[in-house]
């Protein structure tokens, strides 16, 4: 699954309040050769971890322990140009029109394939390689 490019290893922050989902996602990211730099269940944790780890990618759920605060988290994390934010939510209807700085959304329930191919797409984008076609199951933010 995925390209398995060693050079494409990404440092990823997981913002998800559901422990089981976060844990499984961490395992999957590990399988794909990426590194989970932290798991945050609340907006405060997420923003603090974002500042201290400056991740390459942040997967952000909208509904967190302290309410639908994932939008604020996305806005705060995407201020750091080094971080690419992707929403990962069953609540895509709550995403504002400007996507709060995120590049797109993976709708829950997602498959492992969508996570893998989205990370390939993100890696290509970050490396400046032409990644015109986004993967099935990933919805890009309107430009």
């Amino acid at each position: 699954m995925g390209t398995g490019n060693a050079d494409a290893a990404l440092r990823i922050l997981v913002v998800e309040d559901e422990a089981l989902i976060a844990l499984e996602l961490e395992c999957l990211l590990d399988d794909l050769g990426h590194v989970t730099v932290g798991i945050a269940g609340s907006s405060a944790e997420a923003i603090a971890l974002g500042l201290s780890t400056a991740p390459d990618v942040a997967f952000v759920d909208i509904h967190l322990v302290d309410g639908p605060t994932g939008i604020e988290v996305a806005r705060a994390l995407s201020e750091d140009r080094r971080t690419t934010v992707v929403f990962m939510t069953a609540n895509a209807k709550r995403i504002p029109r400007d996507f709060a700085g995120a590049i797109g959304v993976i709708a829950k329930p997602y498959s492992e394939r969508v996570v893998a191919s989205t990370l390939d797409y993100v890696a290509d984008r970050r490396a400046g390689r032409g990644a015109e076609a986004w993967p099935d199951g990933f919805l890009p933010a309107p430009v």
Binding site: M1, I21, E24, C27, A92, K108, P109, R113, D136
Partner: protein
Amino acid sequence: MSVRSESAPPPATLVDAFARSPSPMVITDARAPDNPVAWVNDAFLQATGYAAAEIVGRNCRMLQGPATDHDTVARIRAAVAAAEPISVELLNYRKDGTPFWNAMTITPVSDAQGVAFYYAAQADMTHTHQREVTMRGTNDELERLVDARTHALSAALEQKTALLHEVDHRVKNNLQVISSLMLLKARRTPEGEARDALQGMAERIGALSTAHRLLYSEGDCAHFNLGDFASEFLADMNAGLDPERHRVEADVEPIAVAAAMAAPLALLIHELTANALRHAFPDAREGRVSIAAKRTEHGMHLTIRDDGIGLGAAPPNPAGFGRNLVEMVVRQMRGTIVWRDAGPGTTVEIDIPLQSAS
């Protein structure tokens, strides 16, 4: 009262009848300056509150007041000028200043020299007008009530919609949790039958998840597009295959089926495809599985075909869970299924009746 035979009653009798009539009446002198009142009956005096001396010799406009409609007055003036009869309703005022609705018919009375008099018969229409006003008030009140009710209903609908979104969100989140649970347990289970079973269950849940994700994404909660499902399902299946050896293809029409059929159809297609991949290509045999669905007159026809070793060649499968599941789901959808050795491979043909979906 004496009645003369053949012709009209004598003028004196007519005047008497008019004078006693309960309908207010006025006669004006068309030839005097400013068309003054020449004669009124008692009913007119009663209706207006004036004494005869106060009104005779003056123009009828003395009955008009601040709320009298100017356009109506202009129409009367035009009819009088043209010597034409006219019927109008005009707001007039009594001597004490109270207004009343005066419905009048003005008729010119001519002699050889032209119009001599205008004769006006009148009726107090205030009650009718009051009824109209009351009716308008009642209508306004009704409309206000309807508005209030509509507002309450929209609020209730908004609440229900929010609730539906909340439930939808929870179902999707829970599917993710269930799938995560299965996969986590699979990761911690040593390679072998148990692990395969867990992974198989996670895949089935994945197929159900795809169906559910597509179910409410387009805003249409009542239908499910089988074509959309097929393309996502295909991407998920092929992601787990070695593209050099195995391939799943699909040719599925964008058939809209009832939402209730989304889950069983997703399970069915997943099970047949996974079954083919699991059993048709042993010993590193290469091959492909194709999924086709098209509408028929009364429903849909689904074909799952592989170019593997064929039914007869496959070792008997005592557990046979996949095949059982498939037959159960087909029965649930009141469909029919035929398994055939296609030489090469296996073909499964399924017919499923559909309610008249759009």
